[in-house]
Subunit: 426 residues, 2 copies
Amino acid sequence: MKDAQTNQDQSIEEMMNGIGAAAKAASAELAFASAERKHAALIGAAEAVWSARREIIAANEQDLAYGTEKGLSPAMMDRLKLDEERIRGIVDSLRAIAEQKDPVGEVIAEWEQPTGLKIRRVRTPLGVIGVIYESRPNVTADAGALCLKAGNAVILRGGSESFHSSRAIHACLLEGLRSAGLPEAAIQLVPTRDREAVSAMLKAVDYIDVIVPRGGKGLVGLVQREARVPVFAHLEGIVHIYIDKAADPQKALDVVLNAKTRRTGICGAVECLLIHEDVVKTIGQGVLRALVDKGVEVRGDKTLAQIPGVVAATEEDWGKEYLDSIVAAKVVADVDEAIAHIRQYSSSHTEGVVTEDASVAERFFQRIDSAILMWNASTQFADGGEFGMGAEIGIATGKMHARGPVGAEQLTSFKYLVVGDGTTRA
Amino acid sequence: MKDAQTNQDQSIEEMMNGIGAAAKAASAELAFASAERKHAALIGAAEAVWSARREIIAANEQDLAYGTEKGLSPAMMDRLKLDEERIRGIVDSLRAIAEQKDPVGEVIAEWEQPTGLKIRRVRTPLGVIGVIYESRPNVTADAGALCLKAGNAVILRGGSESFHSSRAIHACLLEGLRSAGLPEAAIQLVPTRDREAVSAMLKAVDYIDVIVPRGGKGLVGLVQREARVPVFAHLEGIVHIYIDKAADPQKALDVVLNAKTRRTGICGAVECLLIHEDVVKTIGQGVLRALVDKGVEVRGDKTLAQIPGVVAATEEDWGKEYLDSIVAAKVVADVDEAIAHIRQYSSSHTEGVVTEDASVAERFFQRIDSAILMWNASTQFADGGEFGMGAEIGIATGKMHARGPVGAEQLTSFKYLVVGDGTTRA
């Protein structure tokens, strides 16, 4: 039994090493593939997905049957399901990525030195990206396409629930690569449900440059804990909004209602309101009552729990990500107390301030180091598309390399190109 | 015995956790410290170093005595030694860093979305930087100052040989911080020679954002292998220069002689020449003979070993970093063979091409992914100062975050500041 286990592990390891070596070789070619060729591959893939929609739906039915057998929740079954409309969405998304600006080769900076050297800093691909995701099969297309756009080879490891759907979509991506004359190893899908493959990816410092986990807290936490390879991710979006005493009442109402109720399950949804003590009975009460009227469970501190409809919060409510129709609320003495609370409890994703006082907003912007800070705007704007950065592979809260929305440009590195004329150093 | 060991490890771990927590707290304050205050701290430190030069030299004498006792090599003793001239160098370097542009708060990009949102991407400090270095005591001042300039707290772990010198210099940095009203924990020096402190730093994902090793291959290799924290470093500088058939003979001679002989011990010194077969008997022979005349040991492949003065290379000479007056040399059929050789053997630090043919240079620039590529220029220019980027903490060959010379700007991250007017998402 032990030997069989060892042999199986070895073969997964060998398989992953083979995938890694192929990805590395492909990435060397992709690094100088023209923008036109990558564009053609993505358009080809979009066409192939649309042509193969019946096969994809048939593959998806296999996954749905497996999901029913495994007793997946209705929400997970819904995430898994593909129909013609959702496949149209995948096609549109592939086309949108195809039409985005190609970041590779962009001159980021250019200058001349007194020695006569001309120096350019140009954008290059990162190399090989590993994407580990859960049930949504569209990630196969989106992540594969975005990595290719930035000239990277990608190793995709989808959830076991979407195994057949991902395989069918991946076949279309390969068709796009072939039609454009790009190496098929540019986009590889790990062909096993074995979890050993994930462990191998997390350790693969020799062939993966960065890992992007796409999924719930369980997956992201596992990846952040175990990866030896750098990771672009956020574990949680514990988003705060501070309502200052100088807030405009209407803006406070609009921003908070939108930030909580537009969609409660996204990482930019607000989870905690901090209200200046001077405006508790005016703006604060108005905002909280409007939330209660919208069916939101408001968990307030001692003072706020006295407002009709508000329930009492416990210590566990501070720093909690509900991803649901629930919000915590707390009174603070001033912007500094709000900043201190956010520093203690935030996940460094996105925070907002509502105020007409520019000096308060400035202090909030300066003293909080979350990836995204919003002034008089809904935190639900925390999204690569809304930032005008195109498709995103996720939002990162780390401080290294990529931060905030991670789009094609953030999936690149750079190199220095230096031109002299026989120039030597003194 | 075992208990004593455990207790000692625990106390080092506790000490390092205390240093880490203090650094993190200081970094939160430094993040919004004004440029003026950081400037004042650095000028104050420069003045303190000059005033304390006699104490520093006395401390250095203790280190030199310890070094003699330990039997350090003359080269290491020289690196360790401080005199008034070298202290003047430290003072000048502190002043130069003080006068550099402050990168924090710089608006990297700014745009407006159709929703009315105004988005700024602004530079922020990385947080806490750990610097692990060997015998040169001036690194204490340089690294401490550069991290502070970029708004980072720094934890310095100097070599055991320079223990007293580093302590004396560190005391002056603290004087600068105090005089400017900045927290002393902004620049901490690990107050023990115990190697456990290094291990603790390498694992300290909770309080160190990036580790910079400064030293030889042994130290850098250890850090790259063992660190859980991201690392900015290069392990080796295996620098290649390709002399194309369209090379200008004089430029080839000037560039190669400078790249090899100006200083042989720096990471930008060329270690391997690749010569186009068509110019072996003309440019190639001229360059190699000039190197031999300068006392360089040239180790050539079969063809080149026939040139008088050139010795035969072995397989081990390809991909070798000599850091000495030795160079490998090989004939290649064309630029593609040169590129293939470099891809196989380079350490992705710096490579050069000498040619008058722009298409050859373009191909070399596109298809090689080293951090720095030089065309008709000496590879010894691979240096933050020569790039006009100010003081550098080192050169990085990784693809994540910082690459090439790592100066103050490369020691920063960024965040997004978004301004609306009660703006909500549809």
